[in-house]
Subunit: 355 residues, 2 copies
């Protein structure tokens, strides 16, 4: 891999990253910036054509990174930098084979996504779809106060004698940030099933769990089988990566094991949850409700999708990390990952790739 | 006030409190229970007629307690027990004049309402009205991912270098339970304006604030003028009682002092916020958004109410305490307050009344 000294470093960016971030690349004399000019996902043909000779690509989740694209870029390519924490759109084996680094943007979106997790757990428990809709439709005047009208499932422990258990599928940064937020809601226990798709060696251990429990003032943090996550939790957060290894990890059998008062939150990838099974179990009252930021097959989710029609299923269009501050941070990190690669420096945030 | 020994204690209840709670009164031989039989707010005429000779009344927020009702009940009445934490429907001076106690239900609903406060702050910040509606209407397929699409105002601090300030109007139990929940969201400061309507002597002091700050790991907790609550806060929670003293305490002047990225949450009473001013300031982008569990004039809030039409105003139909667990606890406390009064025992939870 030759250094590009003397000539400019070609960096291809598949989306305008806005006025706070583009100057990181635009203002440099040593960068030849090639930017997809439109305000929509980058055309594949344009990307294949323009990638040639690039030293780094800044891409979005909508851009598939595979042998085809890597071949089109050629041997000059040092890094692919995705503006996302997920990387199921990237063929990491092909990258590893060629010695191309993968930059991504974990950490910077942790807090924004943990916020969405808490919000969806509350929304699902408190019948927000039904109650907010009746206000919007002008039906509030038809309802007079009544002791048990609109009553939901309470996320917090109503008093200190009550236990609350949080369950996680995938127990990385976002899960821990979500768990920390649940502590003042009176949560007492945490169970989790490790991410079966993790590329990292298992770092969890009983000692680490015990230390986390102590840090958060919980009675226990425990790694358990998936079935026990379903059985014990008052709220289950799906926070593992997508991909074939986690496909439909929440299926009908899982949902049938959950408490009838429990809620399911998915803020990871739609493929982890079987939509038909969830709609069926919700319809039959098998669980209290669901709050989803992601749905399998999104954005092709129509008004007659079984989950959209379900009154106890609240759906957001994948806005987990969508805050101004966080998206600027993500875009900035994606730009800096690409720039570092171009300059031959270590990437600020690279995914460790197997050989 | 004569003891009712030898005869049964007449307790009038204006709403069926459900199978978990009614036995508290129904199962006693010494209680003559008179229950409004219908599943709607109690008719005034029925209440006035049946109150005669009662030793205690269990009432709802829809039942006005004034001289008329107290006269109808007569000198046997020892206590009015409202299934609510608010008591603006009760003429406390008339009660005090007659030596009739007022039972109410604070504390038991603190956690449920604090949950709603956090939920509304998140919902308002994250453009949930717009984004959830487009999913329900089947418009998600029309939107492809884009770096700044749907971006909201982040409740949590995106990283430890960022400050976040919570503001409160009224700083009682619910406010403190809400503040405790904000700590792991990265909140660093708290400002509050005391409840101008408080019947209690001011218990707040710089020492108590400092101790609270230390307990929560905040840099400061500070009692300030109302204008500074508006100016400094990233989120303002309205949590003071209703009534004339707090009428429109959030007016256009207050809203104009707020940050453009800040959100307003009202989970107290609708009368504290000027609806027209809020709609105007939201429309003009003066603040980011609002989340309301209460609206002045509720439930008469039609589909063309200026706040219902506002895309950045999310409204719930007063479900702050509406969880199964909390409503059972409230109803149970209301029943036990009435029973205690009937038996000549101290009420489990009475409002201290001035003479």
């Amino acid at each position: 891999m030759s250094s590009a000294s003397g000539s400019k470093h070609k960096i291809v960016v598949t989306r305008n990253l806005g006025p706070d971030v583009m100057p990181i690349l635009q203002d440099r004399d040593d960068v030849d910036l090639v930017l997809w000019p439109e305000d929509r996902a980058c055309d594949r043909d344009w990307l294949l054509q323009n990638a040639t000779g690039a030293i780094a690509l800044v891409i979005m989740v909508s851009d598939k990174v595979n042998a085809e694209l890597l071949n089109a870029a050629g041997p000059s390519l040092r890094a692919v930098s995705t503006m996302s924490v997920g990387y199921e759109h990237v063929d990491v084996k092909e990258l590893a084979k060629r010695g191309v680094a993968l930059g991504y943007t974990p950490d910077v979106l942790t807090e924004a996504v943990a916020d969405i997790c808490i919000m969806l757990a509350l929304i699902a428990g408190r019948n927000v779809k039904e109650t907010s809709t009746l206000v919007t439709e002008g039906k509030w005047p038809n309802f007079s106060w009544s002791p048990f009208l609109f009553c939901g499932s309470q996320l917090s422990a109503p008093n200190p004698s009550v236990n609350r258990t949080a369950g996680f599928i995938g127990f990385g940064r976002i899960a821990k940030a979500t768990l920390s937020r649940l502590v003042p809601f009176g949560f007492t226990h945490c169970v989790y099933a490790a991410n079966p798709n993790s590329t990292k060696p298992p770092s969890s251990s009983a000692a680490a769990d015990s230390s986390l429990a102590q840090q958060f003032g919980l009675r226990s943090v425990e790694k358990v089988d998936l079935g026990l996550v379903a059985e014990r939790s008052d709220v289950v957060f799906v926070l593992a990566p997508g991909g074939p290894e986690t496909y439909h990890v929440v299926d009908e059998a899982f949902l049938r094991k959950m408490k009838k008062t429990a809620v399911l939150v998915n803020a990871a990838r739609g493929t982890l949850v079987d939509s038909d099974a969830l709609a069926k179990v919700l319809r039959e009252g098998g669980i209290w409700a669901a709050g989803l930021d992601v749905v399998e097959g999104e954005p092709k989710v129509s008004a007659d999708h079984p989950l959209v029609k379900e009154p106890r299923c609240f759906i957001l269009p994948h806005i987990g990390s969508a805050t101004n501050e966080t998206r600027v941070d993500m875009a900035s990190l994606a730009a800096r990952n690409a720039l570092a690669a171009a300059l031959g420096q270590p990437l600020p945030c690279a995914l460790p790739l197997g050989g």
